[in-house]
Symmetry: D2
Subunit: 156 residues, 4 copies
């Protein structure tokens, strides 16, 4: 299942390295961390079943919206990344939750600052036919969970 | 939006009355409640935007699974109501959350006991081509939220 | 930390065996399970840092309420297990969350049915000076998390 | 209850205006907003029972930690604002949840950036005997919920 999820992320334009870079940038001031450690922790997050379920479901909804295969009014809400539609945030939170509440604030911060790959996904979603309404939040959730995992590893 | 959601629930076999009956059964020993009060509270729950988003998304996924329009392995997980797939519970919880944490336990109880309409949906999901993987949890979430709303109204 | 948490639970009247019995009763119809497996899974849940934090915080609030060391109106809300006070449910959910959303429904079910040790705690809370407002939910959360862990182990 | 909560916040150094200023700064680029609107929305958030419960519980734990009235190891975790202790984030999230998942990202952003009153609380917590481990997250949650409420009001 993990390989399917990694392939799906890649097809939507997100590599393990993209996510590891974000983890590295967010953690370098707090922990003695290398890109390899960041990659290792992203891999660990992606091996969790709850995380896989959220990614499979969210990316599927993005793809179906892109192909106009959802019914209205859901279709327009997802295509426009409507501010009152929060199911993308809910799925992201279910990812972050995997290593407990300490990942919440990282997720929110990443989402607002639109660093690295997240800014790129957001821009693609706004300027092309690509729908990334779920994907940017999923990636933010994965990165936040990896940061939480690193904090747990270092402190325990 | 609320009318669209009510129509969608009805098309999937769930009426306001079905849900109000569950609310009445769950609350009659704790509160002085009529079917009318139960209906009123279900209507209030359905007018919340978060609730509408969860219903639109969940029922859409059930319908797409029925039509085999989801990609594997997501398709099989939703069609079989796979125990390790918990996105349906997550959407239900986002509904229950609308009136705070006091609705959580009602949701779990309803879901396990499979009272009334929930038992009916579950049976249809298991014995026919109908996919109700999300719907039964959504209905449980709506009923639990209505119960929480009644508790808030009576105590405050 | 885990040993402190186990000691604290025991001082409040809850043993690993009490919780394992509940896990066994809930799972015996779904899985080939022994009391030893149930104990093993309870131990795994108790080794999670998020779980320990919730237990330490919840039991501390119960004890402080018992000794009248909380300020009003919080004191009365916790002493009376006031229905609109849901922080106990929130802590329980943070425990259940450790193995994902599939534990939610078990928690709600356990909480309502008041099986075994949970019924005993509830009765003590209602008929003696003992305050178990948090403890019954914490125990329900631990048991539900252990059941979710067993489901994950069996299916993956 | 609301007046008690407002008085408690004030005694811990947080006024409605402090929180309204944060709301204004966060929303001014997205909405036509005045300080009066910000105050109105903070007041609305504070009138929710779930929010009041979280504030009463969190501030109580800060005060008890300040007075060394909690047992170890909980006492040290709260006094030091230990990174692996996430119950403060959990209470903040229960506040933000009141207007749905759209407030999550604002909460994380506010918490990381330590704007205005939050930076002040954080500094006091780190440089004096004052314990603000819960308070900074509670305030971040209240502000994020008020922002979510404004978004709902403007779009619906
Ligand atoms: Ca999004
Ligand atoms: Ca289901
Ligand atoms: Ca309780
Ligand atoms: Ca804090």
């Amino acid at each position: 299942m993990k390989e399917i999820v990694k392939k799906m992320l890649k097809e939507r334009g997100v590599t393990i390295e993209d996510m590891a870079n974000l983890v590295y940038e967010l953690q370098k001031d707090y922990a003695d961390i290398s890109i390899e450690t960041a990659i290792f922790n992203i891999e660990k997050v992606l091996s969790k079943r709850e995380v896989q379920n959220a990614i499979l479901t969210g990316i599927q909804l993005d793809i179906l919206a892109e192909k106009n295969l959802l019914k209205e009014p859901l279709l327009s809400m997802i295509k426009k990344d409507e501010p009152l539609y929060g199911i993308d945030e809910i799925l992201a939170l279910s990812i972050t939750n995997v290593y407990g509440s300490i990942g919440f604030t990282n997720y929110g911060y990443i989402d607002k600052m639109k660093f690295g790959i997240i800014g790129k996904l957001d821009k693609l979603g706004k300027t092309t036919d690509r729908v990334n309404t779920f994907l940017d939040d999923l990636v933010g959730g994965i990165v936040a969970a990896a940061c939480a995992r690193i904090t747990h590893s270092n402190k325990e």
